[in-house]
Symmetry: C2
Subunit: 93 residues, 2 copies
């Protein structure tokens, strides 16, 4: 799968992301779409995956895999900060 | 697995939940612990699972399974509201 099929969840309007996922499956005919998020946007990524697969693509798309992980980075003060990540793979049934 | 091994994530201090998970594995000798959350607490559930398994129980406990789902309920105005849920199963390696 190429990175083109990945949707990164952030602070844009919720339906932008849902539409992005749905269009990957419909107009771009993707077999799989990855929904990724970090930190506080993880809850939103789950919402996007649930609404896309159950409300808009019900019967044709389902959750195939969910992975969680941690990333570490240095903040402005030079302190190491840990942040959780999620990656939800949606695919055709 | 009994419901005793389930930790529901809410608005209490973060380390309360991490301690809860760690104690299930250590003092209660559980084989599996379920971390559950709804809505905005989903991000926190992922944090609890990551910090418990990677910082406190590294090498002995790992993420075994992650399930997401939707629940519907009626709010005070009688409107049907959808909320996402997550269930993360941590288990001994």
């Amino acid at each position: 799968m190429t990175e083109d099929n990945t949707i990164f969840i952030g602070g844009k309007p919720f339906m932008n992301y849902v539409t992005g996922v749905v269009m990957q499956f419909t107009t771009k005919n993707a077999d799989e779409v990855n929904v990724k998020a970090r930190g506080k946007f993880i809850s939103r990524a789950v919402d996007v995956a649930e609404v896309s697969s159950k409300r808009f693509l019900d019967g044709t798309v389902e959750v195939k895999d969910i992975r969680i992980n941690s990333e570490e980075f240095e903040n402005k003060e030079g302190k190491t900060v840990r942040v959780s990540t999620i990656e939800i793979t949606l695919g055709r049934k």
